[in-house]
Symmetry: C2
């Protein structure tokens, strides 16, 4: 099992791929440029680096590379979340949730859904 360390932009690229299932470098550049401009060659470089570490693969469709994610979203979410949980909160889920409730504004509706979630979890 890989413990994939992804940079900030690399993660954004993966997110575009997860969302679309597969995309050309051009599509990714366009998507990322919506929020902040980035050179096409930068995206291509990062895609090659991602491929080098096994995060993505590509196939050629009409002379153009179509990239597909190899890392699963759940896998990456897992890794980075557990990493934070361990390093910052000493592994305490309670500590982490407590911090979230204290420092982030959570709507009453979200709180309700959280309570439901926890109840369901307790019944398992």
């Amino acid at each position: 099992m890989a413990a994939p360390r992804l940079g900030k932009v690399q993660l954004q690229i993966m997110q575009v791929l997860w969302q679309s299932g597969g995309a050309t470098a051009r599509h990714i550049t366009d998507e990322l440029s919506k929020t902040s401009p980035i050179a096409h060659s930068t995206v291509q470089t990062l895609l090659r680096k991602l491929e080098a570490k096994g995060a993505v693969t590509h196939e050629i469709v009409e002379r153009t590379f179509v990239f597909r994610p190899l890392y699963q979203e759940s896998e990456v979410t897992e890794t980075v979340t557990r990493d934070l949980l361990t390093r910052i909160f000493g592994g305490s889920v309670y500590g982490m949730v407590a911090h979230l409730l204290k420092s982030e504004s959570v709507s009453p509706d979200e709180l309700r859904r959280l309570r439901t979630l926890i109840d369901k979890e307790g019944k398992k």
Copy 2:
């Protein structure tokens, strides 16, 4: 207010400082070496880098540097947690907590305490 990005070892150094209030480089080296060996000069280099970005300061006590943290623990916790929340969970506290409950094993006792916490939060 700084939103400082700290590396892995840099964070460990800060944690030693938060725990002790203030410490010499030697003390930090010893503490960190308990888990994995690290050269004293590495710690010193990182301390200088941390000082350069305003994360720590030092005073001289009997010809030895005693370092003190300038970044507050809460501040760093805040920054990195919100960073993850935003980048991975699109800002959804619910999404993040749901992931934690699903992928981390949470004891019944912890679940109870979490429910209590949420109830308290709902009453505010």
